[in-house]
């Protein structure tokens, strides 16, 4: 159910957006994400984008792995 694969927003049109990952393109509802724009990555749940992936936070999580010995 919760695939959690981030999909890239290609085009925004009203309440919907075209998103893609790999070779897969889909139309998803974006009413839960006011302010989403082309180029953003979103998490899709059953045909609806539920959250924008935060690039900075992702970077921080990845850099944290380097420090994981230092807890």
């Amino acid at each position: 159910m919760c695939l959690g694969i981030p999909m890239k927003v290609v085009k925004v049109k009203g309440d919907f957006s075209l998103v893609k990952t790999g070779g897969l393109t889909r139309q998803v509802n974006i009413q839960m994400l006011p302010g989403v724009k082309a180029g953003d990555y979103v998490i899709v749940h059953a045909g609806f984008a539920i959250e924008i992936v935060d690039r900075e936070a992702a970077r921080e999580t990845l850099s944290l792995f380097d420090k994981i010995d230092g807890f």
């Binding site: 959690g4 059953a46 992702a58």
Partner: protein, 363 residues
């Protein structure tokens, strides 16, 4: 960054696994992954082989199909018998056994039961079939509830009068509260779900460490996310500092998604709900608000939809204990004997996120 391969780095996975081994105490630690997709990915990526033997991962109640009570399935089957009715459902529900049938068997007998990927698709079907009554089986947790709320609002705006919800929506934090309040259950930490938390945030779990001294960590779905989530839980447990750690900060905020929460509140109100295995839990479900009651199949045809608890035929089925984490799937006498993904006896064997189904495929 595409946020996939970066979180599947083998070197880092091994490093986190090593740290977990170094930190692991001698006693058994029991962690529950609440979300069915965590269960599935944990085994799909073989992460169980990267953890100490005395670190037990227990599959929790976060598979919507698995926790749907039998009387709900029976009622859905009953509704499907009407020749003018189309049942719309997410795929997994099709094979869940009711007392004497399943929706799949009903379909073979001629019932109109259709699978939809998104609730939104049902709007189109309702438009295309004006003479039919379309009933959507609304099961799922907070993340699904938000998608159903938007579908409902669109149906109302459009004035669709042949589209209905049969709801069994559930809320995760009250179920976790019920689990920690159960003296039979010993859980040291919860791996909290990703998508549900994207909607509700990490804040709703804060009562768990505060009141029950149980560690919590919200985690993403990639192998590195899951392992790091386990690492953070273990860290809290070993240092006796239970809290709510958020590993999945790229998607989950403490307050969640405010727009999504408002959308849910507009369509649904909190109600009591019945969970397979856990029983009735106060404030753990969602029902349609009064202004949407025209879409509630239980309100529009109350005389023949009254839910009642039936005698459970499947007495040997131990899904209830699996959902609560009291037994592992392998301990159920039916597992791999009379119960398999091809011929499931209980709901945990049906869904690809169900603990028994996952264990069958990967163990």
């Amino acid at each position: 960054m595409k946020y996939i391969d970066e979180f599947r780095n083998r070197g880092i996975i091994k490093k986190v696994s090593r740290r977990i081994f170094e930190m692991m105490p001698e006693n058994e630690i029991r962690l529950m992954e609440v979300c069915g997709t965590h269960t599935q990915n944990f085994h799909r990526f073989g992460l169980d082989k990267l953890l100490p033997d005395n670190l037990r991962l227990i599959a929790g109640p976060g598979c919507p199909v698995c926790v749907s009570p039998q009387e709900y399935i029976d009622k859905a089957i009953q509704l499907s018998k009407d020749a003018n009715t189309v049942i719309l459902t997410f795929g997994d529900m099709l094979r869940v056994p009711g007392t004497s049938a399943s929706l799949l068997k009903q379909r073979a007998k001629g019932a109109d039961v259709r699978i939809v990927y998104s609730a939104w698709d049902s709007l189109k079907l309702a438009r295309e079939n004006p003479a039919k009554r379309l009933i959507f089986l609304a099961v799922g947790f907070e993340a699904t509830a938000s998608t159903l709320a938007l579908t409902l609002q669109a149906a109302k705006k459009e004035g669709l009068n042949n589209f209905f919800f049969f709801t069994a929506l559930k809320l995760i934090p009250p179920a976790m509260k019920a689990l920690v309040s159960d003296p039979e259950l010993k859980i040291d930490g919860f791996l909290c779900p990703g998508h549900v938390s994207a909607i509700i945030g990490s804040q709703p779990y804060e009562f768990i460490p505060k009141k029950y001294k149980i560690a919590c960590c919200v985690a993403g779905f990639e192998p590195m996310d899951i392992l790091e989530g386990i690492y953070f839980l273990l860290y809290q447990i070993v240092h006796n500092k239970p809290g709510v750690k958020n590993q999945y900060t790229r998607v989950v905020k403490r307050a969640g998604n405010p727009s999504a929460k408002a959308i849910i509140r507009k369509a649904f109100k909190v109600t009591n709900a019945s969970w397979r295995g856990l029983g009735e839990i106060a404030g753990s479900g969602l029902s349609l608000r009064e202004e949407f009651s025209g879409f509630d199949i239980e309100k529009t045809m109350p005389h023949d939809i009254k839910r009642k608890t039936l005698n459970i035929k499947q007495q040997n089925c131990r899904c209830g204990e699996v959902i609560k984490g009291i037994i592992q799937p392998l301990q159920c006498p039916l597992f791999k004997n009379t119960c398999s993904p091809q011929e499931p006896y209980g709901p945990c064997m049906v869904s690809s996120e169900g603990a028994c189904n996952v264990y069958y495929r990967y163990k």
